[in-house]
Symmetry: C2
Subunit: 478 residues, 2 copies
Amino acid sequence: MANEKKMVEQITSMEEDFAKWYTDVVKKADLIDYSSVKGCMIIRPYGYAIWENIQKLLDARFKKTGVENVYMPMFIPESLLNKEKDHVQGFAPEVAWVTHGGSERLTERLCVRPTSETLFCEHYANIIKSYRDLPKLYNQWCSVVRWEKTTRPFLRSREFLWQEGHTMHATAEDAENETIQMLEVYAEFFEEDLGIPVLKGRKTDKEKFAGAKDTYTVEALMHDGKALQGGTSHNFGDGFAKAFDIKYLDKDNTLKYCHQTSWGVSTRIIGAIIMTHGDDSGLVLPPAIAPVQLVVIPCAQHKPGVIEKATEIFERVNKFARAKIDISDNSPGWKYAEYEMKGVPLRLEIGPRDIEANQCVLVRRDTREKKIVSLDSLETEIPALLADITKGLYNKAAENRKNRTYTETELDSFIETAKTKSGYIRAHWCGCEECELKLKELADVTSRCMPFDEQGEAGKCIVCGKPTDKLVYWGKAY
Amino acid sequence: MANEKKMVEQITSMEEDFAKWYTDVVKKADLIDYSSVKGCMIIRPYGYAIWENIQKLLDARFKKTGVENVYMPMFIPESLLNKEKDHVQGFAPEVAWVTHGGSERLTERLCVRPTSETLFCEHYANIIKSYRDLPKLYNQWCSVVRWEKTTRPFLRSREFLWQEGHTMHATAEDAENETIQMLEVYAEFFEEDLGIPVLKGRKTDKEKFAGAKDTYTVEALMHDGKALQGGTSHNFGDGFAKAFDIKYLDKDNTLKYCHQTSWGVSTRIIGAIIMTHGDDSGLVLPPAIAPVQLVVIPCAQHKPGVIEKATEIFERVNKFARAKIDISDNSPGWKYAEYEMKGVPLRLEIGPRDIEANQCVLVRRDTREKKIVSLDSLETEIPALLADITKGLYNKAAENRKNRTYTETELDSFIETAKTKSGYIRAHWCGCEECELKLKELADVTSRCMPFDEQGEAGKCIVCGKPTDKLVYWGKAY
């Protein structure tokens, strides 16, 4: 007899092997699968539903600032990629090249877009004539390709999904404002919707985007103390505009170069969610992006009236939350483990005695707290709990970051901390690349972020000792 | 002084040159732009907003039938593409090949997906074990590449956006039901949302999809009498399942092959909308997918109170329709032409005298009818008019199809009609490819569709004279 119930299998514990825990979770929670396409991933329905929710929330935030969506070709002719020097140097080593169409060799190679600055620039040069045409605030949702050597689901893969915003402005000031505005949009999304606290700040020159004047980042700290770049916003100044001859006729009747930004986040966000909130039972999803926010599980469902009542409740809840009911013949214990693995924020248990007492039990995924709730107050209790879960996730992650942030003023001590602890190390830095490389060599850390609100205080460079007011968060990164 | 107002330029008339009219419209309505990537198009904000609306409506229709979205890699290793013989023969001549990643030559070429049957099959073989796992109803929204020689915006381009559904079923009957169900979903979308009447039927073997057992189509007739395949739904039987070894353990404890379907529509739909409803003033958009459903245009806007009242009305209307207000300093006449070019379904004009009389003028894009409407009844009048526009578009297109459908029973007369008229030619056909090719040779037409509801009536093959009950719509196609 075929009776193959899917079992919730054990996953590696985080303490034992964080990397293994991570890959166990992405597989066991049915987020991804592998294929014969090396370095690429299949995003399965549960994983893709998370991405769809991320897209919906971010897209609405973008559009509120006036952004419009477009779609650019996925190919970039080699000569076009070569137009901006720094940019091509940054990306050429890691692009995939199309050399044949059907049976014919192409006269010019095409790369599969690793990012689309060059295509947007070519288009903007075409359509921008006057100051009346500015600003242009375009974005696209698409997939991009970077030929990585080592890959990990969501964190680093040869193809990934993202959005890339590309904007053009009349003045340097407008471009800078846009760059900062979009960084704020990302920060608010991470903190309000995902419950992930972020550092907002500038990247050092060494870490900035190929071709950018300034790169800003929202940086998140994972449970294991490694940093993850959550989203970046770049100010290009007029560098690309000069390379692509993007000029507008200003009010004063003179031709001026445009000022440009770009900004992006990718499916890495899903990796950040997993590694910030997850635990040894699997995923823990913030309600805003959870495909299922609440699962109804009837107890003693063979007893008369239980499934009917559970279904009635499911239908009620589904009007104001993304709900699901599981009336399969798996045991309640099996179901609890399954939806814990999948990170469903709330579980609603209801059995015969609950029904009699006109109540149910709500169990939080994040804290496992149980709350007995009257069936008359679901419409207020559930949204309140969901909001509270997001706050709880945020606070827990902020606490982890606080506990894993170390401040150092002496090099030896810095190196010792980098060796023995995992987290951010705050230290002053003189601003030169030599000292930055030295820290990489001695302590195996990179500069993650120069937070806006921690600059300007006097200190000494952790490497060379020069006085400086630049403060950097250093760490190991995904 | 810079005073470059964008002018609404003349477009070629449909009667003069339909192909030129088409490309004029896609450019002048700001739907697309060209780039240095030959054969690919840039979909501009106004064009992409139409696609976003199409996606939203179709995606909801899919999900109602239980479909889940996923994302597969964009690359297919050559050996994987080669697994199903008919399929690779159909697609290999028109794929783009990636041969290098960074500076290294790949050990195996990868094609950029022209369609993803092979990837879905590989994944399904991995995840389907038991009858409990069936059906699997997956879909993805993505871009695909086919290396076409001649291209036209939306109709035929080297890269285009589409959705591809791929489903697996326990029985042949389930697969056939799914194939038909998704064809119905397409037909309802075309007729209810886009106001485009379609023929629903089967493709001849010659015209079916590479590797399919049966291909069904929704076929639309354009304004100029050429046919356009709007969407297709394929039943693969167990052909791919055998090639990819996709088996499930049935209730009777035996291993069985799965039965498979796929179905897709693409950005061609936008081409169909343009060529079905458009006129010599530009686009005519069905309200369901129009980025702007109503534009408010104040008349004599310099007079006190006009802009304020127009803005108040815009805000009111925007609550139940996608509305826009244009208070730029362009003349009303310029604005009328601009929003006609862009196919905005309704225009709301309001001037000082209207305000005094507590009324406004609503002008339909499709018929140019004007209706004076009390400002107290906008909430009922506007939705009613929008619904009526969709019906009107449908009826007009159905009338065009009726006028352009010819029935022929003799070959000579068929050839004469094919030469002198443009539209569908209904004629019986014996079912053999030889006769089908003969018609192509003699009359330069292809079989478009064998409508489900016109089969079974006795007749004689238009070519060889054999008795048959198969009726085919023949024509020239985009």
